[in-house]
């Protein structure tokens, strides 16, 4: 996969970087401490048209390419991982509609999502079936022109603040999750919908992760995405693409940690010299920077794979998320090490980055799931080769 950074990409990066450095970075520690969703920054991003990058201009969006969307997330995450989830989840929640929605559904919902007036969320995971999506239990029962949804979801990012949720439920329990699941657009002010609990988390603390309950929630049949039974397919197609944003987030977190470690090492004096004069530190910084760069290049290549709608795009996006997530964990851990005792206290940002980095190894498919996907793609290629 190849890509080229255009002037437009560089311009977008400069724009987002300025915003992130001046307005988002100064809020990061406070957001982490209070564990409150940064509504002000959501407004800021909406004002700057940065929540509509995935939507067509006809809907009030800016219709940016995949690489631009990666750069957007990366630059925000470099300042604050929580805030980077605002555009990430806006797109994640909308992806099922982007992939399987009809014109009427897009016209009805996209303008409000593109402007940032509404927030979206994606509700697939259930308590008893984490990565094992096929074992989901939530039900959707047809009743006249409606479906009636019953069940619960867990670990839903922005589930408690979203206005619109794309939710997955079994329309044919007999057929099971793989064949019998369907996707729905649920407006969260529908009676019977509730978000009774928000998790206390280790990182990305300003981003509410909610448990959702559906108690006889009536959804018009017009809000079904695709045909009955296409839910699993839609969910997998969504995740194949959305995990690119997690890779971008991980790259941004890594770069933020590299920057913090570099600036500390260049300023701080120990034993009469700068910390950065020690070769042991230099080697760590070199590893951190080069690994971050490798993760970035793979992530950009994965963006190109989605842009090209490559048949093996799961290989690219899963590889990118796998590498970038592990890199973020390693680089942030090393950044804490470079700062020594200061790295462990909240006065410096790297301990937060380390806590934030961990989630990139977990959500939208754990690293183990990514390996399964990559391996499956590899074996399929090998099998195809063998058959030839």
């Amino acid at each position: 996969m190849t890509y080229r950074l255009t002037d437009e990409h560089l311009e977008l990066r400069a724009m987002v970087r300025e915003l992130a450095e001046e307005r988002i970075a100064p809020r990061a520690a406070g957001i982490d401490e209070s564990a409150e969703f940064p509504w002000d920054l959501k407004e800021l991003l909406a004002q700057q048209d940065l929540l509509g990058t995935a939507f067509g201009e006809a809907y009030g969006g800016t219709d940016l390419d995949q690489l631009s969307q990666v750069i957007l997330v990366e630059e925000i995450a470099r300042a604050d991982a929580t805030t980077s989830l605002i555009p990430i989840v806006q797109k994640l929640g909308a992806l099922p509609i982007l992939l399987a929605g009809n014109d009427e559904q897009k016209t009805r919902y996209f303008p409000r999502l593109a402007s940032g007036e509404w927030l979206a969320a994606f509700a697939l995971t259930e308590a008893a079936a984490g990565s094992d999506v096929a074992s989901n239990r939530m039900r959707a029962t047809r009743d006249g022109d409606d479906y009636v949804l019953n069940g619960s979801k867990r670990f839903i990012t922005h589930g408690s603040i979203a206005n619109l949720i794309t939710a997955f439920a079994l329309t044919d329990p007999e057929a099971g999750g793989r064949k019998g699941m369907s996707a729905f657009i649920v407006e969260t002010d529908t009676p019977g919908f509730a978000a009774p609990r928000v998790e206390h988390k280790m990182g990305i603390r300003g981003s509410p992760t909610a448990e959702l309950t559906f108690d006889d929630v009536r959804v018009p049949a017009a809000n079904r995405l695709g045909d009955e039974g296409e839910g699993f397919k839609i969910a997998m197609a969504t995740l194949d693409r959305s995990r690119l944003a997690i890779a971008a987030q991980a790259v941004g977190i890594s770069q933020g940690a590299v920057d913090a470690a570099l600036s500390y090492a260049a300023d701080r004096q120990q034993f009469g010299q700068r910390v950065s004069d020690f070769q042991g530190i230099q080697f760590m910084l070199a590893d951190m920077a080069s690994q971050t760069e490798a993760a970035r290049q793979l992530t950009y290549a994965a963006a190109a794979a989605i842009e090209a709608d490559a048949p093996d795009l799961p290989y690219w996006t899963s590889s990118a998320k796998l590498v970038a997530g592990d890199t973020a964990m390693r680089v942030t851990t090393d950044a804490v090490q470079v700062l020594g005792g200061y790295g462990y206290i909240t006065e410096y940002p790297v301990e937060r980055m380390m806590r934030d980095a961990k989630i990139t190894q977990l959500y939208e498919g754990t690293q183990q799931i990514q390996r399964l996907i990559v391996a499956r793609q590899l074996l399929a290629r090998a099998g195809a080769g063998a058959r030839r």
Binding site: L5, R13, A14, R17, V258, D259
Partner: protein, 260 residues
């Protein structure tokens, strides 16, 4: 009602390269920025545009061709059109020559208010707004913390020795504003995209009716020497001591220099 904001492109003084970048040089990022104090003039003009007080905001800059980048950045914040006066004869222009060129260009653009920042970022004397007003035979309203327009008059709120005054003059005027007008807005993504399609004219010196001779090689002053400042003794640091000890040490330091 029309405002033309005069902006200057300056090198980014605050662009500390704290961040290592990937190896593609970030040309778009910061080499050519709008003089930070001019951004307040842009913000003031755009606020009047948002409020419907003025119906057109344009920009004017004098500088090398790259100054077009600064004008695009301004257009991304808002406004309709921009003009760049660029000419080889303008290299090294001082404040007198800059004012002469801007005044000539503004005569052609004929705005109700020619608006400027209170100073440029490179330690000049803040003389351009007044010198432009002088040449254009217009009133000057300088150092405004706010600009208001009504009833054929422009008004600025300006700090006085103890409080503030409102100073008025009949339109058209040349005005300058301070950083108290309010924080400049960020260009939105749509603004950046739209700016590419907005008109940006390039004028030569001849286009504004001036010749190189008029400008006497661009300057009435010349630098005869440049050197680093006198070295100063290194900073003494007091660290990791109690407040009592710190206070005593500061007092000793002051006493040693006969400052108490």
């Amino acid at each position: 009602m029309k405002i033309v904001v005069c902006i200057k492109q300056v090198p980014a003084t605050t662009a500390e390269k704290r961040y290592t970048d990937d190896l593609r040089l970030d040309r778009a990022s910061a080499e050519a920025i709008i003089n930070p104090l001019d951004e307040y003039a842009i913000e003031q003009a755009l606020r009047l545009l948002d409020a419907g007080t003025v119906d057109e905001v344009g920009y004017l800059s004098m500088g090398p061709e790259q100054a077009g980048e600064a004008l695009r950045r301004a257009l991304a914040m808002g406004g309709e059109s921009a003009t760049l006066v660029t000419d080889p004869a303008l290299a090294g222009a001082d404040e007198w020559a800059t004012a002469a060129v801007l005044a000539a260009a503004l005569d052609k653009l004929a705005p109700d208010v020619a608006l400027m920042g209170m100073a440029s970022d490179d330690a000049r004397g803040s003389l351009v707004p007044g010198a432009v007003a002088a040449r254009r035979n217009l009133p000057l309203l300088s150092y405004g913390a706010e600009l208001a327009l009504a009833d054929g008059q422009a008004r600025i709120r300006r700090l006085s020795p103890t409080g503030f005054d409102w100073i008025a003059a009949p339109l058209p005027v040349v005005a300058s504003v301070t950083d108290q007008v309010g924080e400049p807005r960020y260009a939105s993504l749509k603004g950046i995209m739209a700016a590419k399609r907005k008109p940006l004219d390039t004028w030569s010196l001849a286009d504004v009716g001036l010749s190189a001779e008029d400008l006497r090689s661009g300057a009435l002053t010349r630098v005869t020497d440049a050197r680093p400042p006198e070295a100063k003794p290194p900073t003494e640091r007091i660290e990791n001591v109690s407040a009592d000890e710190a206070a005593a040490k500061i007092a000793d330091w002051l006493a040693a220099r006969k400052l108490v």
